[in-house]
Symmetry: C2
C-alpha cells in the first residue's frame, strides 16, 4: 500500500501543477457514500490536466475505511482530460477512494522526444534524458538503481541522433523510470469519497410478504412460526429470495383497532401487528400466539436452507400498553393533562399509536434502546429489515443507527418504507438505507413508467437510491389492480420483476388476485389482514403461482435482470405498448421486455430496436427468445411487429440471441 | 446581524431534526465561488424538511466575506420541500451564504390548531399554546415579553373552544412568537458557499481590439497613444464599451519574427507585441514608439470620458532580451547546454519566446513579480485585463493572483484567452477568471450554435463561466468570414452581439471585412498586424461601422440583451434560419432574433414562437418591432413566416411588443 502524500491542499506548494477535478462517482461531493456491490468493479473517473503540454500520471487510491494505507491503481486517459480506473471492493463494508496526480517529467520528455526531428535537438534531449534517468536512479534501489544509472550513462554518450532517439524511447527505460517517479509535487484531490459495498442481495432479490398469523392451514386458527415454516417450500418454490414478515411482537390491547380499522375492537379482534407492545413485551418480544424465540430461530434456519432469508419489520412506535410507555415516560411527548401524546395529523387521530419524541432530553438512551432492537434481531440471525415509515423518525438517528449496525454487520440490509415526498426518500437513501420502496404502484401509463424508471436508473439517485418495486402491499391495492383483472396482475408483476433488479409482492393476496377495496375509492383491502386473520386456499386453480415462479426463474437465469446498470426504453408506435432493454455492463446478457399496458384489449404495433446500443447489425437477423412462452422469433432491422393479447399473455420477455458469424460463414445462435 | 449558531455539524446533538440539503447555486459544492452582479438579487434555494409533520423555519444567512456576522433572510417554501430566498450584494466583492433551519414548535402547534375540530382537543391545545407563549415570553424582553406573558395567561383561561381557537390563531400572537423562536436545536448547512459579485461590465459589454501602432493617420508612421486617443471617438461612436490593446511593451529584438511570422526579421520589421521585453524594459515598461507613461495615463482618462475602458493584454512570457531573463535565470528552464529553454511543441519551436518555469524553486519571487505587473497597471488606472494563454501558466498561480488583486480591486475584470479543451477552460473560469473566450468562431451551423449556446446559458458553467464572444481575433480569421463576404460579417456580428451579453471584434479588420488568409487553409490574416504596421482608411464607404453602431445601440437599449438569464432557441422549419429569444428575469424586455446562416442565398421559413414562455395569447396579435430596419410586423399565434435575403439584411432583431388590453377594450402597444 502506498503512503498517501499531499501537496496541493494540506501543504500548499505553488509548484504543484497537476489539477484534479470532479472525482466521481460522488454523492453530494462526498458527504454521503456511493453504493456498489462487493466483488464487482467500481469505476472511478476524474478530470485531470495541467498547464501546457506536459504529461501527467494519475493514480486512483482506495482502501477499506479502517485500513491505514491506500492501494494504488494507475488511471488511464480516455480522451478530453477524462481519466478512468476501477477497483473491486473484496467484501461488504465501507471503503474510501480519492485521486492523486503529478506532472511527470520523464513521460513529458519521452513524448516530446518521439516527435523531435532536429539532430541537434535530439542530442540535447538525450542529455536531458540522461539527467532524468540519473535522478530516477537516485530514487531507486538495488537492480533498478544500477540499471537506471547505466541508462543515464548510455544516454549521455555521444552517438548518432537516430540511435539516441531509439535509446530514449526504449520501453525498458520507460518501465524503469515509471517505477521510480518524482512525486514531490503531487497534487491530491482534497476529499476522500466514501463507498458502501453491499452483498448482491442489496441489489437483486425477489421479496414475498406474508402475515404469519394467516399462515395456518385451518381456517380460524391463529398461524404460528411452525405454519410459516411449512409454507417455506411454497414461497421458495415460486423463486423468492426474501420472506418478509410484518411485526411479530405482542400487539397492544389498549385502544386496539377492530376489523377494517374499526375504532373499537370487539373481543375477538386480533389487532394490528404495527400496534407494538403489550404486557408480554415490546420490540424484542414475540407474540405468544406465533411461538417462541426458539421457534423463530428454527424458522430462520429452515428458510436459509431453502435459499430464503427472513426480513423483519422495524416499526419504531408503541401501543399504549408497550412496557416502554411506563418505563420511559421521557421518550414520549405529553399533553398538558399529563397523558401521552398519541399520533395525530389533525383532525385525524391514531390513539392506538404513541410515537417517540426524538427531541427528548433522554435521546441518547432512546437511541441506544432503538438500536438495541436491531441488535437483538441481528443476534437472532436476521440481516434484512424493512423499516416502517422511517421518515417520521429523526434522520440523524437513522444515519447513526444504520452506520453502527453495518460497522459490525456489513451484510445487513435496510429497506425504507417511506411513501413520501421525493427529497425525503432520497435523503433516507443517502444516509444509509440500502433500498427504498418506490412510486411504482401509481405509475401506470407508458409515459409515467418511462419517466420514472429513467429517473431511477439514470438520475442523480443512481449511485445511492436502490428501488424495491412492489405492485401491491397490505396498504396499497391500486385501482389498476382493482379494475384490471388477471391481465393487470400479470402485467404489473412482469413490470415490477423486470424494470428493476429488486421487487416484491404481498401474498397470497397477489397470486390470488385479491382486488376488493374496503370501499369504492379506497386503496385499502376489504377484510385487510392488517386487522384480522385470513385463510388462504393455496390450491386454487387460478393462482398466479406458476406464472410468478416462471418470472422469478427468468430473473435468476438472465444476468441482465440481476444488474442495475442498463435500462433503456425503446420506441413503439402504440402508447399501450411499453418496451425496454436491460443489459449487463459487458452486454453479454440482454433482455428485451414488451408489455401491453391495457388489461382490456389486445394491442399491436412496431417496436424500434436501438440496433447500435444492442450491438446488432442492420443486415443480419437476430433471434428473440420469448422466455415466457419458449417461442423463438427471428427479427431483422430496427422495426419489428409485436401483438399482445392480455387474455393470453400481456408481455414478452425476450432474451436477445445475437447471430454470430464464425469461420467459413457458418452462422449459429448463442 | 445574527450570531451564527451551529448544532448539526459542529456540535452534534441528536435532537436536531431539521435537514438541509442541496444549498444552491453551488460550484463544486462550494469549492469555487458562484458569480453574480452586485446590486442584483442572488436567488438561493435549498431542500429542507424534517421527520413527520412539524413546521420548519428556514433562514438564508449571508455576509460580505470579511464581515463578522450573518445577515438573515427568512426563506419561503415553494412546494415539494424547496425553500427560496434572495439577497442583494450591495457592491463588488466576495460574499458567503449558507442556510440554517429549525423545527418550530409554535408554527407546528398553530398549523395543527387550525385543523382541530374536537372541543376537548382545542382546550388541551390552548393549554399547550399557553406553555409555548410563556416560553417565548422568557426569551423576549421589554414589551414583547409582557405581551407574550399576557397571551399565555389568556390561552390558559377556560373559554369556549371557538374563542380559544380564535385566540390561538391570532396574527398578533403569531408575530410575537415568530420574533422569539426557540432556536436551540437549529441545524446548519455545514458549508459556506462563496460568491463573487462583479460590476455590470463583467457580464455586459462590447469590446473592440486595435493595434495602437496601426492607429496612425499617415501610412507608414508608427502609431502612438496620442493616435489612439484621436481614434476614441470612432470606437465610442460605434457603441463599444471596452477598448482592448495588445501588449504595449518593448518588443524583443533577439530572434524577432518578420512579416507573416517569417523566421528571420528584416531590419524594418517591428516584431510581435507578444514577444515582450527588450533593453528598454519588460512587462511594466511602455514601447518607446507608443509614447510615455504620461501619454498612457492621458489615453486611459480620455477613454473614460467617452464611456470607454482600456483593457490591457497580460502575456506572461519573455523575449530573449527581456531584462528578467538576465536578472532571474532561475525563473526559466535551461537546456543541458545552459541556454534558456524556448517554447516548443515538438517539432514546432518558438525561439523568440521564453516561458516561465512555474516549478522553479524561486516560485514565490516569480509569483510576486507577475502579480507586480498587474499591480503596476492597476496603479495606472487599468481595471480590465485580457490574459494571453492562461492555460499555459500554473492554475494555482491564477487562483492566487486574481484572488489577491480582487481583494483590493473588486472591480477588476480578467478575460481568459484560453482556446483549449473544455475542462481546462472551465477550470480557469472556476478559479477566478471573470470571462472567457469561447468556441463561437467555429460554431456555424444551426445545430452547433443551438447546442453550444444552450450549454453556455444553461449548462453547469452558467454560474461561473461567462462567455465573451468574438467572431474574429488577430489569430482567428475563420473560413466562414473568408468565404462568406459581407453577409457573413453582418450575420456573425449579429450572432455574437445577441447570443450573449458580452462580445468583441478585432478592428478595423472586422468593419473593413478583411478576409484574406496568409495562405489557403490558414486562419491567419495575410499581412497580419501581429507582425507589421497596417494603415486603415476609416472613411471607406463600405465600412460596417454604421451597422455595428446600430447593433451596439440596440444592445444598450434592450435590457434583454444585457442579461445572461434567458436564452431559448425557437423552432424553425429551415435549418438555415436560426431563431432565439432573450429576456430579462422579469420578462419586461424580450428580444427575438432570427438569422439567415447562409451568406449566399435568401431563405424563408416558419418560426415557432413559444407563446407560453413569451407570455403571449394564442388569440391576440402581438407586434414584432425590427430594431434593425424599424419595420413593425403584426404576428399572431405560434407559427409565423420569415424571409431573409443576405444581400439586404441577414437578420431580424425584433423587440416583442405585447398588445395590452386596457379598460373599455382599447388596445395599445407598449
Amino acid at each position: 500500500m502506498a503512503e498517501r502524500r499531499r501537496a496541493a491542499d494540506d501543504r500548499p506548494d505553488g509548484r504543484v501543477r497537476a489539477v484534479i477535478d470532479a472525482v466521481r462517482p460522488a454523492v453530494d461531493g462526498g458527504r454521503f457514500p456511493v453504493k456498489r456491490i462487493a466483488g464487482e468493479p467500481v469505476r472511478v473517473a476524474c478530470d485531470c490536466f495541467t498547464d501546457g503540454h506536459d504529461a501527467l500520471r494519475v493514480m486512483l487510491h482506495w482502501r477499506g475505511e479502517d485500513e491505514p494505507g491506500w492501494r494504488e491503481v494507475e488511471m488511464r486517459e480516455a480522451g478530453n482530460d477524462l481519466w478512468e480506473a476501477a477497483f473491486t471492493p473484496p467484501a461488504p463494508g465501507r471503503y474510501r477512494y480519492t485521486v492523486v496526480a503529478w506532472v511527470d517529467h520523464f513521460l513529458s520528455w519521452r513524448r516530446e522526444l518521439a516527435r523531435r526531428e532536429d539532430e541537434a535537438d535530439i542530442a540535447s534531449a538525450a542529455l536531458a534524458g540522461a539527467h532524468l534517468a540519473q535522478e530516477a536512479s537516485a530514487r531507486a534501489t538495488g537492480e533498478d538503481r544500477r540499471q537506471l544509472a547505466q541508462w543515464a550513462r548510455r544516454l549521455a554518450q555521444p552517438a548518432p541522433a537516430a540511435d539516441l532517439k531509439a535509446l530514449g524511447l526504449d520501453d525498458g527505460l520507460a518501465a524503469l523510470c515509471l517505477r521510480h517517479p518524482d512525486r514531490r509535487l503531487e497534487a491530491a484531490w482534497p476529499g476522500e469519497m466514501p463507498l458502501v459495498a453491499d452483498r448482491e442481495r442489496a441489489r437483486f432479490g425477489a421479496w414475498y410478504e406474508l402475515f404469519p398469523r394467516s399462515a395456518s392451514d385451518e381456517p380460524g386458527r391463529h398461524g404460528t412460526f411452525a405454519d410459516v415454516e411449512k409454507r417455506l417450500d411454497y414461497v421458495a418454490g415460486m423463486g423468492f429470495d426474501v420472506l418478509y414478515l410484518p411485526p411479530i411482537h405482542p400487539i397492544g390491547r389498549e385502544r386496539r383497532k377492530g376489523r377494517d380499522n374499526a375504532l373499537v375492537a370487539t373481543p375477538g379482534d386480533v389487532g394490528s401487528p404495527w400496534a407494538i407492545g403489550a404486557a408480554e413485551g415490546g420490540h424484542e418480544a414475540i407474540h405468544p400466539a406465533l411461538g417462541t424465540a426458539e421457534d423463530f430461530r428454527r424458522l430462520v434456519a429452515a428458510a436459509r436452507e431453502r435459499g430464503l432469508e427472513i426480513a423483519l419489520d422495524i416499526a419504531y412506535q408503541c401501543a399504549p400498553d408497550h412496557p416502554w410507555v411506563r418505563e420511559h415516560p421521557a421518550w414520549f411527548r405529553h399533553r398538558p393533562d399529563g397523558t401521552v401524546q398519541y399520533a395525530e395529523n389533525p383532525p385525524k387521530k391514531y390513539q392506538d399509536i404513541y410515537p417517540f419524541d426524538f427531541e427528548t432530553e433522554d435521546w441518547r438512551a432512546l437511541w441506544a434502546a432503538l438500536k438495541g432492537v436491531l441488535d437483538h434481531w441481528l443476534a437472532e440471525g436476521v440481516r434484512i429489515f424493512r423499516v416502517d415509515n422511517p421518515h417520521t423518525k429523526s434522520f440523524a438517528f437513522w444515519e447513526w443507527a444504520i452506520g453502527e449496525v453495518r460497522r459490525e454487520h456489513p451484510d445487513a440490509i435496510f429497506l425504507a418504507e417511506a411513501f413520501t415526498r421525493p427529497k425525503v426518500m432520497h435523503r433516507l437513501a443517502k444516509l444509509g438505507f440500502t433500498q427504498s420502496y418506490t412510486y411504482f404502484a401509481w405509475r401506470n401509463s407508458r409515459r409515467e413508467l418511462e419517466d420514472y424508471f429513467t429517473e431511477l436508473a439514470h438520475g442523480p439517485g443512481r449511485d445511492y437510491f436502490r428501488p424495491n418495486v412492489w405492485p401491491n402491499t397490505p396498504d396499497i391495492l391500486t385501482e389498476a389492480l382493482q379494475f384490471g383483472g388477471r391481465p393487470a396482475f400479470l402485467s404489473r408483476l412482469v413490470l415490477a420483476a423486470t424494470l428493476a433488479p429488486t421487487y416484491g409482492i404481498y401474498g397470497p393476496a397477489y397470486e390470488h388476485m385479491e382486488a376488493a377495496p374496503r370501499e369504492p375509492g379506497s386503496e385499502e383491502y376489504r377484510g385487510s389482514e392488517k386487522y384480522e386473520i385470513r385463510h388462504w386456499d393455496l390450491a386454487r386453480p387460478d393462482s398466479l403461482r406458476p406464472f410468478i415462479a416462471l418470472v422469478n426463474r427468468i430473473r435468476r437465469e438472465q444476468p441482465a435482470l440481476r444488474t442495475d446498470a442498463g435500462l433503456r426504453f425503446l420506441a413503439t408506435d402504440n402508447d399501450q405498448l411499453l418496451a425496454y432493454a436491460r443489459h449487463t455492463p459487458d452486454r453479454e446478457s440482454q433482455v428485451i421486455v414488451v408489455v401491453n399496458l391495457d388489461p382490456h384489449n389486445p394491442h399491436s404495433g412496431w417496436v424500434t430496436m436501438d440496433l447500435g446500443a444492442l450491438g446488432l447489425d442492420e443486415s443480419r437477423p437476430y433471434q428473440m427468445h420469448d422466455l415466457l412462452t419458449g417461442a423463438r422469433h427471428l427479427w431483422q432491422g430496427a422495426r419489428n411487429f409485436v401483438r399482445l393479447d392480455p387474455e393470453r399473455s400481456p408481455a414478452h420477455v425476450f432474451a436477445l440471441r445475437r447471430r454470430l458469424r464464425r469461420e467459413h460463414d457458418f452462422d449459429y445462435f448463442l
